[in-house]
């Protein structure tokens, strides 16, 4: 089973008018693996993530996803109904801004419970039980489950998003700058939590970040993007210790010299 990738992306491309955001992006993702996509802003990494997450329709390419059932579906060619159903039940998407990824009008418990209800959960006690367990897992006191997300700190809101996205035990989680905008100490704790949860849940993750430190801490492998293209890909340690492409070398050296 694990010999097959859970996700195979080939020739993905997206342009906005004449501006090319992504061109010919191809990669594979294996179950349980964490892949970091790094690059500066405007490199196309967020567009890539939005294409994968169904927020933006790509212009070309295939996104083949192996479902739990073993069936392989090209999400680009699939009907909107099937694509949305798969994304709902088997994917998660942690957004950079918690306002995009959470419902601020309902309690933390409802936020974590919603994905369960969306896939048919109809037992209030069970939904509440799961929500409580997941809040605990992301280090939020379950006693606060009836509080609104707006009463939480930025770091807690991100952890709440993670709980909401893992509660359905997805195969893949997308994360867009999950530590962006947080204090350094809060970042470290969150990264630690993400690393632990991703390992425990056996979920594959694609993490978009401009921060090589985040990539080093979380990722097994990395893609380096520049001007919409993947310029280098490889194992994280290898790539950071011995970058081949001139742009990667520049990125790595600029971090080290700071």
């Amino acid at each position: 089973m694990t010999d097959d990738p859970v996700l195979t992306v080939t020739g993905l491309a997206k342009a906005y008018g004449r501006r090319v955001a992504c061109r010919d992006v191809s990669f594979e993702l294996w179950p349980g693996e964490v892949l970091a996509v790094v690059g500066e802003s405007g490199s196309g990494k967020t567009t890539l993530l939005n294409c994968l997450g169904g927020l933006v329709p790509p212009d070309a390419g295939r996104v083949r996803f192996r479902r739990r059932s073993g069936e392989v579906i090209d999400l680009v060619a699939a009907s909107e109904a099937l694509r949305r159903a798969i994304l709902r039940a088997e994917w998660g998407f942690v957004r950079q801004n918690p306002r995009d990824g959470l419902r601020f009008g309902v309690s933390a418990g409802a936020n974590v419970g919603e994905p369960l209800m969306a896939i048919g959960g109809r037992h209030y006690g069970h939904i509440r039980g799961s929500a409580s367990e997941w809040l605990d897992a992301v280090e939020i006191d379950p006693a606060r489950m009836d509080d609104l997300p707006s009463s939480f700190s930025g770091g807690m809101q991100q952890r709440l998003q993670i709980a909401r996205n893992l509660v359905t035990h997805p195969a893949i989680v997308l994360m867009d700058e999950p530590t962006g905008g947080l204090d350094v100490s809060v970042q470290a704790r969150l990264l630690d939590l993400i690393r632990r949860l991703v390992r425990e849940a056996g979920v594959a993750a694609i993490v978009v970040t401009h921060d090589l430190g985040v990539a080093r801490l979380l990722a097994d492998r990395m893609l380096v993007m520049r001007q919409g293209c993947v310029v280098e890909a490889g194992l994280t340690d290898q790539l950071l210790d011995d970058p081949q492409h001139a742009y990667t070398q520049l990125l790595v050296s600029s971090v080290l010299t700071v």
């Binding site: 909107e80 109904a81 949305r84 159903a85 709902r88 419902r103 309902v106 309690s107 418990g109 409802a110 419970g113 919603e114 994905p115 209800m117 969306a118 896939i119 959960g121 109809r122 037992h123 209030y124 006690g125 939904i127 509440r128 489950m145 009836d146």
Partner: protein
């Protein structure tokens, strides 16, 4: 010939055909909201124009019409709508639920079980059950199409966890025929179970929002709930003060400024029939004698 030289039922025949096509589509896809070219009627939007257009499209000279508002035939808006149809169609009207072939209603379903062949026409203010959760029509139509209804249960969940119970008291959302979530119009929760597998045809008209939908006879209509927090309806400790009924929806009537009150049937025909059959409540004077004076 009807009054003032207007066409039978006020609407021209082309418009009636357009509305009938929308109704047929609604019947074919129970609970699905069919957009239709709603017309301006001589009664205001929000006062039953959707129901009036449906009634106008399905009524014929042989029909007997009953119109109720809040369960009663003599509330002002019910009187006004009934007069409109008398003027525009010259049809027979009745206050007897059993005798009506078409019943147009606002906010209630009659207590008496409806029979095959009867049509119940609901006036609908806001047809979209997802409206309070998502204001955009483009998005709600997609949610219906893809059956993305999880958010409906989020509302119920939130009610239970924050308020201890589901706070929706009327216009309680239902799942129709296992497919579409539908608003039953602002009928009290008490009436919701009557919709399930009803023998009569149920038609819903929202004039201002330009939607028609339908529940064909004997269709499943199930209120949304949780397995461990099942749907419940209102109950009263009292019986109707006039007819002694214990199974009907009761209106609370304030008697004086000292807070004294009594409870009477909201469905005036149901109450009347029971009293004619000799049933008496104990809370009030004999209303038949009062009325005879």
């Amino acid at each position: 010939m009807t009054a003032d030289g207007y066409n039978f039922g006020y609407l021209d025949e082309q418009t009636k055909r357009m509305i009938r096509r929308a109704i047929l589509k609604g019947v074919a896809i129970p609970g699905y909201q069919v957009p239709f070219g709603s017309r301006e009627m001589p009664l205001p939007y929000g006062w039953g124009t959707g129901g009036i257009q449906i009634t106008a499209a399905v009524i014929g000279p042989g029909d007997t019409l009953k119109v109720i508002d809040q369960g009663a035939d003599d509330t002002t808006n019910a009187v006004s709508i009934r007069n409109f149809f008398v003027r525009m169609c010259d049809v027979a009207t009745t206050e007897r639920t059993a005798e009506a072939s078409i019943i147009q209603t606002r906010h209630r379903i009659p207590e008496r079980k409806l029979a095959p062949g009867q049509i119940l026409v609901y006036q609908v203010p806001i047809p979209e059950p997802l409206r309070w959760l998502e204001p955009r029509e483009t998005e709600t139509r997609k949610m219906h199409a893809l059956r993305e209804y999880g958010v409906m249960h989020v509302k119920l969940y939130e009610d239970i966890s924050v308020k201890g119970r589901v706070s929706t008291a009327y216009d309680y959302p239902v799942l129709v025929n296992g497919r579409y979530i539908m608003r039953p119009s602002p009928i009290p929760k008490f009436d919701t179970p009557k919709m399930h597998r009803m023998a009569a045809l149920q038609l819903f008209g929202a004039g201002r929002e330009k939607r028609i939908y339908a529940v064909p006879p004997y269709t499943d209509v199930v209120p949304l709930d949780f397995e461990d927090h099942p749907f419940t309806i209102e109950t009263w400790d009292q019986a109707c003060a006039l007819c002694g009924a214990t199974t009907s929806f009761l209106d609370e009537v304030i008697l004086d400024d000292r807070g004294r009150r009594m409870f009477v049937c909201s469905d005036t025909d149901f109450c009347q029939e029971r009293r004619e059959a000799g049933h008496r409540g104990d809370g009030g004077p004999n209303p038949l004698e009062e009325a005879a004076e």
